[in-house]
């Protein structure tokens, strides 16, 4: 058990190092930060001076090592664009993204499970077929277009919901929340739907497929034969058994939600880390980009690790094999 955990942890560190290398090497190609830092009136001498100051003239491994050394201490340097510590900026922006991700995740899970169960039980009804169809339309259009169409309908034409930003936020000791104000809650609706739509469809279809499969299993047939009520069968037995894969998938999708928040945040001017990242790309703000990618990597590695360990704890067969079956 311990050797397995240690092995996995070492692998996770290796993955992080690799991810860091990939992220860091990317920046050499996205553009020259010096150009954005200096204004219209810069001279060649200014450019060289600043390159020296930022350490951009050092060999690549030196720059990478310096980056890692500081990153381990939680120091991602100063944002070229804002002139503030990157860690501080990310801490300030994280609540917006996490709240949005949480709401869209919850939306995806609840709507997904409800609709999934419904479409499985009423497999051939018109309503359930339309639900399936509409959900497919939702994933057959790019996210940015869905966001803009939602803005057009609900903000411009109907004037019900705000088109951008978080509304009023309340500061709870460094964590700004939009949950405590009416405008904050209203502002969450459109972005959360835009972001969660894809995951909702995914979960819905997964639940539906699992339910259909489970309902065909022998033990359900036995239960039915024993005269258990449909309700008890559907919810106590069938749904319960579909939840394991749903939880796994949801866990793995959590990272995707945060990554795809980049697009939703750009469309809705949502002041989270995704928008920060896009701005950083446009401004070639290397420290912010590096920190963002490292954090995303860290998050995925943790999620993977937790899932691995859970599998290990649940499924004794894997103990012999020493790993989870990657299905």
């Amino acid at each position: 058990m311990i050797s397995f955990v240690v092995k996995r942890l070492l692998q996770a560190v290796l993955v992080l190092l690799l991810a860091g290398l990939v992220a860091f090497s990317m920046f050499r190609f996205v553009g020259d930060p010096v150009e954005s830092l200096l204004g219209q009136e810069r001279t060649q001498a200014d450019i060289e001076r600043l390159r020296g100051q930022l350490g951009l003239d050092d060999p690549f491994p030196v720059q990478y090592y310096r980056f890692l050394e500081r990153a381990v201490q939680g120091d991602f340097g100063l944002s070229y664009r804002q002139g503030r510590p990157v860690a501080e900026i990310i801490a300030e922006r994280a609540p917006a993204t996490l709240e949005l991700a949480a709401v869209s995740g919850l939306f995806a899970i609840f709507a997904g499970i409800t609709l999934g169960v419904f479409t499985a039980l009423r497999r051939d009804s018109v309503l359930s077929r339309s639900v399936m169809m509409v959900s497919l339309i939702g994933v057959s259009l790019p996210t940015f277009l869905i966001g803009i169409l939602l803005i057009y309908v609900f903000s411009v034409e109907l004037n019900w919901l705000p088109s951008f930003g978080r509304g009023e936020t309340v500061d709870l000791g460094g964590w700004t929340t939009g949950f405590l104000t009416v405008s904050g809650l209203k502002a969450l609706i459109l972005p959360a739907i835009t972001l969660g739509l894809y995951q909702m469809t995914l979960i819905m279809r997964l639940v539906r497929a699992e339910m259909l499969e489970v309902l065909e299993q022998d033990y359900i047939r036995f239960a039915r034969a024993r005269g258990l009520s449909e309700r008890a069968i559907n919810f106590r037995h069938a749904l319960k058994n579909t939840l394991v894969p749903v939880i796994t998938v949801t866990g793995l999708q959590l990272g995707s939600i945060i990554a795809f928040a980049i697009i939703t945040e750009t469309v809705f001017q949502w002041p989270g880390v995704g928008l920060l990242f896009i701005n950083a790309i446009q401004f070639v703000d290397i420290p912010v980009m590096a920190a963002y990618l490292m954090l995303i990597a860290l998050m995925f590695v943790i999620i993977n690790l937790v899932v691995d360990l859970l599998y290990f704890a649940i499924d004794p067969r894997l103990r012999a094999e020493g790993g989870r079956a990657n299905v």
Binding site: Q11, L14, V15, L18, A19, V22, M26, R28, F29, V30, M132, L136, I137, V139, S140, L141, P142, T143, F144, L145, I148, Y152, V156, A209, L212, E213, E216, L252, G255, S256, A259, F260, I262, I263, T266, I278, I281, L293, I296, A297, F300, V301, N304, G323, A325, N326, V327
Partner: protein, 314 residues
Amino acid sequence: MSDIIGPESDRSSLKRIWTSDLIWSFRNAPVAICSAIVLAILVLSALFTPLIAPYNPFDPSTLNLMNGFSKPFEKNEFTGDLFWLGADDQGRDVFSTILYGLRVSLFVGFLAVLLAMAIGIVLGLIAGYAGGITDTIIMRIADVQLTFPSILIAMFIFGIAKGITPIELRDQMAIWVLILSIGLSDWVQFARVIRGATLVESNKDYVQAARIIGRSSTAIMFRHILPNVVSPILVIATISLALAIITEATLSFLGVGAPPTQPSLGTLIRIGQGFLFSGEWWILLFPAFTLLFLALSVNLLGDWLRDALNPRLR
């Protein structure tokens, strides 16, 4: 099926699916038939675009800017030209541009999925069959890959490619970079499924037997194991195709998609969304509906395929 052992049985079972079950199921699924028809129309028009399209919007010398924003079915006030579905901000015929864009989107989608499939199959088979350290390394690479969401990977590859391709090739580069980046970000699914199946299959008697009689590893992997995973691969491939087309569109929004001079459907939608409020709806809606029909029909086919290939659900 467990009563028959050996490669012949696998091939014949495959054949059986294709000849009877699958077709039977298809004939009884009106949604699948409709999707197949829509998809066939779209693919055919993409294949024969130069014959169908009244204009070639990819040839800039044929464009007249004064045709810009021509309304559908109305003559342009300056030039007197008529465009069925209107013209966009550059004076391009929207109908022709959609056809050419469809061609780009499908080309990118198909090749990206093929690439993902090829990488996934090879790595999945190797990982599952070889096991041990090879398996660990490949699956850890898959983890790194999953660590970076597809759009980030694509942006990353795009950035690198822009840096290393010679200036005179950059114009043509965009499409290939898209294929490479979407393909590279999508292989993990294939690899995982195949590795899983390989782990299961390679312990079965017929594979052990093949090994004993001295068949080469490659032969075992491709002849014996692969045919068993054709159905899940097919399902994943279909869904990946829809995903690849949408990913391409999303990348366009982030500014790393097909260039505006040779637009894909995604680029057209990105350009068109700027005209949503100003009343030139045709620049956005026609490409958007084309993309919707394309992705939807592929998704619906994938759906049907999954149900059809999973006998327990019938």
